[in-house]
Point group: C2
Chain length 511, copies 2
């Protein structure tokens, strides 16, 4: 990957830089993230005028970001500013000073643009067709409606965690009276949003620090097995329990709550109340955490500049190919393993009874099974599993990531190990993982020489046995021998013996 782009977002409290390395039309990943607290909105008062000290801090931070970009080979920088700048009467002065000192052209986003880029980040990293994205910030809360993957409409309400905390939270722990007043204020703000309500097929996604922190608290309480927030589901009931727990604690007690960043201990109650009220008023039973937002949205607009709007056709597919290409996968081999796996899957449908969802998981595992080779050839199945578990894979939920991890881990040898992921798997997923792993392993050994010698597999299902008739281009003996040696997982998973025969040297199939 020879292209690098830096994306800067200057907010009211914090400014962040991410650097993405990419190859156009191929793949991308984040190589850096830096965050500086500049408190640009400090002391702005009612006029919104940025104070000299804040301006100085912001310019210094952006100078550092600029130096970092230059030093790491970034060819292009997209710098944006949001509400604090938007509302400042002296923003031109700031922009000119920044230009003079760093040569950076900072683009001030309108509130609609800000909501739009957040939406782009979400819709390109989660399989959401219809629903809402909510972003609870310091001074305001944005709600965006997604309709058939399009940016439908949005609203920004002036209730934010800092503003509400200052106004309603004065006792420590918060008194019942204050808590009720806070609740009422939030309720009143959102009761007009008649278009914001749950319905079948409508997903609720939350981005930003408030929602992430609440989900992290839940993960810590559950001793959740994955180090992953993106795609995590927080239920209304859990959120109610968390609010009940938090409101009894003082600020300093809250600072010790596992999963909560201590610098959010003061404002988390207001944030939790906003989220709770929104979910209740909209009738949502759960919210999914989104790990991508504004900055990623700006990246996707650039990376997908040939598409209008800049959306992947299929987030899950894009995500799998992105990961495969990052690890320089052997496409011909991986495609063949996928083709053979899926052919086995389709022909064995009467035995397993699975549908398109399992088929997609199997296909993705087939494409990704060898990505761990870069870490080390020996045990590369373990390394592939480690990468899958830790790399993100946007578009897949946690259960799916766990299944994929188990499948690639088992593609060569060993037992199918689901034990570590019990908390995210369903009860019958062990059987599911064993059956799918068995197919992947067979396909892998039937493509042992990586030279696509097996053209087609014909499956015959009998009462006590499954027979694979191998149609080959060339000599499939090593493949058949190797696959036959690894039949035990199949025989265990499907409760039938397995026989693999070369088509040309066997009797014609009875069908």
């Amino acid at each position: 990957m020879n292209q690098r782009i830096g994306i800067i977002d200057l907010g009211s409290n914090t400014t962040r830089l991410i650097i993405m390395a990419y190859e156009p039309g191929c793949c991308f990943h984040m190589t850096d993230e830096v965050r500086e607290i500049v408190r640009l909105a400090e002391g702005v008062g009612d006029h919104g005028t940025i104070q000299p000290a804040a301006m100085y801090r912001a310019v210094e931070a952006l100078k550092m970001f600029h130096a970092l970009c230059r030093a790491t080979g970034v060819q292009r920088i997209i710098a944006t500013g949001t509400s604090a700048l938007r509302d400042a009467p002296n923003k031109d002065e700031f922009l000119q000073q920044l230009k003079d000192e760093t040569d950076l052209d900072l683009r001030v986003l309108s509130d609609e643009e800000e909501a739009y880029y957040g939406y782009l980040g979400v819709v390109n990293s989660m399989p959401i067709d219809n629903g809402f994205v909510i972003d609870i910030g310091g001074g305001s809360t944005e709600i965006t409606e997604v309709d058939a993957r399009q940016f439908r409409h949005w609203v920004s309400q002036p209730v934010g965690i800092v503003r509400l905390t200052e106004r309603y939270v004065n006792s420590d722990p918060i008194s019942n009276k204050e808590f009720r007043a806070l609740n009422n204020a939030v309720t009143k703000t959102f009761e007009k949003l008649d278009w914001f309500h749950a319905a079948s097929g409508r997903t609720l996604v939350g981005i930003g620090g408030t929602v992430r922190n609440l989900a992290r608290i839940d993960q810590k309480r559950r001793k959740y097995p994955l180090e992953r927030l993106h795609g995590y589901k927080l239920s209304l009931e859990t959120l109610e329990n968390i609010v009940a727990m938090l409101r009894k604690k003082t600020v300093s007690e809250r600072a010790n709550v596992s999963g909560l960043n201590s610098d959010r201990a003061d404002v988390i109650i207001a944030g939790a109340v906003i989220l709770l009220q929104l979910m209740k008023q909209g009738g949502f039973e759960e919210i999914q955490i989104g790990g991508q937002g504004l900055r990623e949205g700006l990246f996707y607009e650039h990376f997908l500049q040939d598409r209008k709007p800049p959306l992947f056709d299929n987030v899950r597919e894009a995500s799998v190919y992105n990961l495969a290409r990052l690890y320089d996968y052997e496409a011909t081999h991986a495609d063949k393993v996928r083709e053979l796996s899926l052919s086995l899957f389709d022909q064995l449908q009467p035995l397993h009874g699975y549908g398109s969802w399992e088929r997609e998981i199997l296909g993705a595992a087939a494409l990704l099974h060898d990505i761990g080779v870069q870490v080390g050839y020996y045990d590369h199945h373990k390394h592939s599993a480690y990468i899958l578990l830790n790399t993100g894979l946007p578009g897949f939920n946690h259960r799916e990531v766990a299944l994929l991890t188990v499948l690639v881990r088992a593609h060569r040898k060993g037992d199918v190990k689901t034990g570590d992921y019990k908390a995210v798997l369903e009860r019958d997923d062990t059987t599911r993982a064993e059956q799918l792993s068995a197919l992947l392993r067979l396909a892998e050994y039937l493509e042992r020489s990586k030279s696509q010698v097996v053209r087609r597999i014909e499956v015959a299902i009998e009462d006590a046995a499954v027979r694979l008739l191998i149609h080959a281009d060339g000599d499939p003996i090593p493949e058949i021998w190797n696959a036959s040696r690894r039949a035990s997982l199949f025989e265990h998973a499907f409760g039938r013996s397995l026989e693999i025969i070369e088509a040309s040297v066997s009797a014609p199939s009875p069908s």
Copy 2:
């Protein structure tokens, strides 16, 4: 990496292919290994004539290897054969048949060449200056002397595990009488080797399956924390215990010994006795396991073709840079972090008292600290640690790999965690790791903007404090602010408070 080479080794029992991806003068890693049991020596009798069935099996396996090489973009294949072919009167017939069917030119190695390539594999993957390499095979045992990293001389003795087992092991478990006879035969064979003896600075290295299996048995018994045999040390005392345990068991009981490949259960006693006698006669207290041999040696001859002999100048350095380049490290940033870490190390010598060994470990950790970014930017310190632990890093022993893993894991944040590696670390390594990690973390944050803004650090050590005077090219305020925020590890590790000041704005240093 656009170059790929396939290396084939056709032995008496097994044939193996490895594929190495590489970029000349830069880096390399193994992308494939395939092993087929062809039993080329089966039924050769006294004449050594390869039988038609064995010839057929070998040609079929090599055809498969050849197809795999073509399918995975290998530009060049080096195919070699060893003893079974060397001794066969009909080897030309075999070579011609192979040439006709695969167009492969197979090179038959002399016994000296075989020993030489094994030596090249060892000396390019272990920091051995003087010592011996032993390879216990099925029909013979080779001993090579390494003198100032050169191939000094070698001997091959016709005692191997298959030959000895056939001749001496007929009862099950082995009877005391047979065990004594086996011992005597081995003793007699090696007693003439007057040049094979321990001395200060002489390392004993063992390659091949026998030694690996014995070491694996030891690891399993100890519940060893690393998944790593290369560089593992097996002591004479442990080996004696293992032999005492094995000789009491029947073949089928041995097949269940954890760590022992069941297909070696029959021959492991003979192998263990050969190794034990060799160590005793040579006066060696321990043997190190080498994970590389003949095939890797052939690769190094090609990869290092500009060097005569084809040796890395410094195995450890070559290994660190190879890994850094495989993960496309940011050289300028990594070099600067290394420079700053080492400058802190040198100036703080009065406090830590460490020497060149710790300095080298710190420098290597600095070069490798960011390699995990490819897996994911968030938590990349954990991914760097995972890669280090699993990737090999030839030239470093297990304690060093564990220390490096702990250091890169701690380079950004969190506690210094040595707990998982207690079995390979020394008692004072927790302090060592904390002090070195503290320096690495400071250097990392003093190079926060990755733009080499810190030119030089001047350290002043006081009774209760350490002061760093930062000489900068440009504005080092973000680096100083960030490093200061992470001072707690330093203060804990060195028991002194830390103050970081910019040189130009502070009073002149008292020194």
